[in-house]
C-alpha cells in the first residue's frame, strides 16, 4: 500500500479548505458591483443572517 506524503496531505487539506471557504464565482460577482453596491450587499447579508439566527 502506498501512503500519502505529509506534503500531499497538506495540499489536499488546503484544497478542502478552499473548496469550502472560497467561492470564486461570488468573488467575481462582487467585483462587478460598485463599492456602494458592495456595502448594500453587506448590510443586507448581515441583516438576513441576524433574522435567520433570531428564528432559530
Amino acid at each position: 500500500m502506498k501512503f500519502l506524503t505529509p506534503a500531499q496531505v497538506t495540499a489536499l487539506m488546503q484544497d478542502a479548505v478552499d473548496a469550502q471557504g472560497v467561492d470564486l464565482g461570488q468573488i467575481r460577482a462582487q467585483l462587478v458591483l460598485s463599492p456602494s453596491e458592495r456595502v448594500d450587499w453587506l448590510i443586507a447579508a448581515v441583516e438576513n443572517l441576524r433574522a435567520f439566527r433570531q428564528k432559530l
Binding site: 470564486l24 468573488i27 453587506l42 448590510i43
Partner: protein, 165 residues
C-alpha cells in the same frame, strides 16, 4: 440595533475626523464576500483630530463593548489620547473598533493612509479605504482565529483583482 456602517462613517466625516477604514468592512468595500459585523478604523492621533473623533463618538452614543457587557463611557480627547492599542465600542449604528496600533507592518494612521483610496460609499460619502494587500498583511500579523478563517477568501480576492488588471 441595526448595522449601518455608512452612518458611522458619515458622522465621523461630518465632524471632520481623519481616519482610514481597515479590516473586514474595508475588505468588503474592496469586494470581499466575508461577512463582518463591525467597522474598524485607524484614526489620526493628532490632538485636534481626537477632539473631532470624540465629538463624533458622542453623537454615535458610543459605549465600551467588552466580551460580555456594554459599559457607559465619558469620551473626550484626553480619554482617547490615553488609548494605546484599540478601543472596542458599540454605537447606535453598530459596533465600531478604534485601532490605534494595528497589527502588521503598517502601525500608524499615516502608514495606512499612504496606501488607502478615497472611495464613494454612496450619496457622496467619500471615505479612505485601506488597500486590500495592507488588510491582508495586517490579518496575517494579527493571526487570530477569525483572521485565519478570512485569509483564504481575501487572498483569492486579491489574486482575482490582480488577474483583471
Amino acid at each position: 440595533m441595526t448595522f449601518d456602517p455608512r452612518v458611522i462613517c458619515r458622522i465621523l466625516a461630518e465632524e471632520g475626523t481623519e481616519f482610514v477604514v481597515i479590516g473586514g468592512f474595508a475588505a468588503a468595500v474592496r469586494g470581499s464576500t466575508v461577512l463582518t459585523f463591525d467597522i474598524d478604523v485607524v484614526p489620526d492621533r493628532e490632538r485636534s483630530n481626537l477632539e473631532k473623533l470624540a465629538r463624533a463618538l458622542r453623537r454615535l452614543n458610543a459605549q465600551l463593548r467588552t466580551g460580555s457587557e456594554v459599559l457607559p463611557l465619558s469620551i473626550n480627547a484626553d480619554f482617547l489620547d490615553q488609548m494605546q492599542v484599540s478601543l472596542t465600542l458599540t454605537t447606535d449604528f453598530g459596533d465600531l473598533d478604534l485601532v490605534f496600533q494595528p497589527a502588521g507592518p503598517k502601525a500608524s494612521y499615516a502608514d495606512w493612509a499612504d496606501g488607502a483610496d478615497h472611495v464613494d460609499l454612496g450619496n457622496r460619502l467619500i471615505v479612505a479605504i485601506a488597500a486590500l494587500d495592507d488588510i491582508i498583511a495586517s490579518k496575517r500579523a494579527a493571526n487570530r482565529v477569525k483572521d485565519q478563517a478570512a485569509l483564504p477568501a481575501l487572498e483569492a480576492l486579491s489574486e482575482q483583482i490582480k488577474s483583471q488588471t
